[in-house]
Symmetry: C2
Subunit: 196 residues, 2 copies
Amino acid sequence: MNAPSTRDRIIETADRLFYQKGFEYTSVADVAAAVQITRGNLTFHFRTRDDILEAVIDLRLRRTRSMLEQWEADGCTAADRIRCFINILIMNRAKILLHGCPVGTLCTELAKLEHAALAQANKIFTLFRDWLKRQFEQLGCGDESKAHAMHLLAWSQGTATLAQAFHDESFIRAEVQRVQEWLAGLSPKPARRARR
Amino acid sequence: MNAPSTRDRIIETADRLFYQKGFEYTSVADVAAAVQITRGNLTFHFRTRDDILEAVIDLRLRRTRSMLEQWEADGCTAADRIRCFINILIMNRAKILLHGCPVGTLCTELAKLEHAALAQANKIFTLFRDWLKRQFEQLGCGDESKAHAMHLLAWSQGTATLAQAFHDESFIRAEVQRVQEWLAGLSPKPARRARR
């Protein structure tokens, strides 16, 4: 495998710093220092911090798409695939306790800043929403599918916000259990494909 | 009624700006300009922006306490009082669509900043949680009361985050309806005190 290009290293590093410290608290100089390149070298790749932000959002969109494709391939039933979404709160719990949800906290920050990139960042939410909506449709939820998708997305956001505020991992587990029960109650019909 | 003191005007204005623009995006000079006083006059009352933040959090704590006392007085039953909490999302929907939840967005921001005032800001969440827990206990939810309180608090946070991201008022109404049904399902027993 080739070593990542300087450009890719800048984007990966900015992605991490924007998540951990927030966009506004991360200067171009912070990114350059973390990548261990000069400010001039960084500016050669990205003229402004907003250009870096754009590349970070694109990276997150690509990663979200490939994660959703993976879940699509892994989950036998729509309920299994929705459980993949629910379980990211458990998988990422250590980071969530420290920094919240990467999507939610970035959108909240860009909204306060009235930043032009908000619409682009919101596309990550939209990817999740549309994917979840399709799963609920396959589960047989019909017209309720979009509302269920939004409900589940809101649940994940609220759980991340409070888990971060209270630094409470057991709360994440309790909420995951609760929403699993909600999901089970939604699908009394047998799933279309065989369970693993 | 006496005119508010300069100190009170500073705190009220900073409260609004921290909510609308975020703490980090509001400078001491912004506050002074909005209050229409000199920077020197402001510094006479508050030495640093962190001192203003402390006063803003204290103001929010006092307001939250008096709102909860009001709900305690207004609601005939525990379910009525919990509905007061649920309905703040409807009451404050215009602001939430623009700026999110004032408590959640401040805590998220202070957490990213690793700001010493986070613990104090979290006390606003704790006030809501403990009050809700008492209501669920009165509703007869026993050991589940704290988990229900956290669930409802998380629900309100997630709903605010997504409503802001999607600028979708109908989503707030749909979620309020959904959580009212959840609450009604929790309390099959008749309420202790007579309904209005």
